[in-house]
Amino acid sequence: MNVGLTDLMSMAKPNIEAREKFLSKLGNKELVNCFQCLKCTSGCTALKLLELKPHEIVKLVNLGFVDELASSDIIWTCVTCLKCVQRCPQKASPYHIIMVLRNMAVEKEVQIPEEYLKAFSRILETGLAEASQEVSTRKMEVFDRESLNLPKINFPRESFQAVFMKIMEEK
């Protein structure tokens, strides 16, 4: 995290093996068919504020700069609005490419935004990604599920934790 793509690219060399590994993780998505029409980037929610350019990411993966992308902070700017998946005429689907790169960042143990790890810990502990909150009304009265007469949350059975860890730890 906190490493810009420009810095990472300054000494980079294409790595075809990394590209192959990436493609196998991506499954049957048709990455190589991207012809750089820029439909993804022109509709990208994260373009204006965070300078995410999905077409560049697709091109860099195709050229073999997978490790550089997985280490860069740019892959964490995607809002996951899915417009690029919808609009890509070549089914190259930048969103899915970015998700594979995020998974690879985790595998490489690059520092990723902390909130994702917090969500993971909470799921492991309680099954849910978030903890129950008290909320206040516009008149500052405080409520929780119980005082709102909402039913208790049915947390998962005990075996959940072990099974979830099993798939998390699998190579």
């Binding site: 700017t77 809002v79 899915l82 993971f120 909150q133 516009r138 998390m168």
Partner: protein, 291 residues
């Protein structure tokens, strides 16, 4: 009729008004919601960490729904709806992953059967209950209201999965608003994202996305914004003040869940719809309705 419901995390832990209003409205429409015997995260945040584990979480939800013996599942959260729909699609195509996840579920005594229809509130009301039935059930039509709708991103994209409405021109939420008497407006920013998923990595940019949209809506002079996703509720309602601070504007835009609005038309009491929990100034809207 009985329908199992999976709420996901955000509704169960903070967006209580959505849960309350869905429960009330469905009861009024004679649909009995069956809460799952247990719940877990749909996998959405884990998609960024480990895809296969995210799919396991999503399919576990479907297996819990299978265990009710009923053949549908209502998922009122857009992100959960996407995570679960995509996982179902991935398993249909990837036999290895399908076997692996079914094996893990069996360790917990759960069975997954992919013949299950995944509903969102919008398509359940629009396609299953139907506009005519909603019109008939309406006791207090909402006249003289001009409202904007925001359907959110993840229930309309991407179409290959089979989504709730058209990806580029969603109309179902507008039709649901119009059938209970209010007018809807078309606006250029209609498909703009609320920014919620960026709260994990770039919170100020996320709030700025929400703020920019609210600012645009205010200039249209609408009476309020109608939403149907707990993430959009978090951004446009719960964090409206913070969102406006990022774009340097003071705005007071009532933001209301569709099920809250429908509840008012069905004559459900305001408190039961959780309207005291909205952080945006919904009184403005309520006064206009009762006037």
């Amino acid at each position: 009729m009985k329908v199992p419901v999976f709420w996901g995390c955000r509704i169960l832990t903070s967006q209580y008004a959505y849960e309350m209003s869905v429960r009330e409205v469905f009861q009024k429409l004679n649909i009995e919601l069956v809460d799952l015997s247990e719940t877990n995260c749909c996998g959405d945040p884990i998609k960024s960490v480990k895809d296969s584990a995210a799919n396991y979480l999503a399919i576990r939800v479907l297996a819990l729904a299978n265990a009710t013996g009923l053949d549908g599942l209502l998922v009122p959260c857009n992100r959960c709806h996407f995570a679960i729909s995509e996982a179902k699609n991935v398993l249909n195509k990837n036999k290895n992953l399908d076997e692996k996840i079914k094996g893990l579920l069996r360790e917990e005594g759960l069975e997954y059967n992919s013949y299950i229809k995944i509903w969102h509130v919008i398509d359940f009301l629009h396609d299953f209950i139907g506009l005519e039935s909603i019109k008939k059930a309406t006791q207090k039509p909402l006249k003289d209201l001009r409202l904007a709708t925001h359907v959110g991103c993840q229930i309309i994209r991407y179409s290959d999965l089979g989504r709730v409405d058209n990806a580029e021109n969603p109309r179902k939420l507008d039709e649901l608003v119009e059938i209970i008497g209010a007018k809807t407006v078309d606006y250029a920013e209609k498909l703009d994202c609320c920014g919620a998923p960026l709260m994990y990595s770039h919170p100020s940019s996320a709030l700025s996305l929400a703020g920019t949209k609210i600012k645009a809506l205010q200039s249209l002079g609408v009476d309020g914004l109608v939403i149907s996703c707990p993430d959009c509720g978090l951004m446009f309602d719960f964090r409206q003040k913070d969102a406006m601070a990022t774009v340097g504007a003071k705005v007071n835009l009532p933001v209301i869940y569709y099920t809250q609005l429908l509840g008012l038309a069905l004559n459900v009491e305001v408190e039961k719809l959780g309207l005291h929990l909205n952080q945006s100034p919904v009184e403005q809207l309520l006064m206009k309705i009762s006037a």
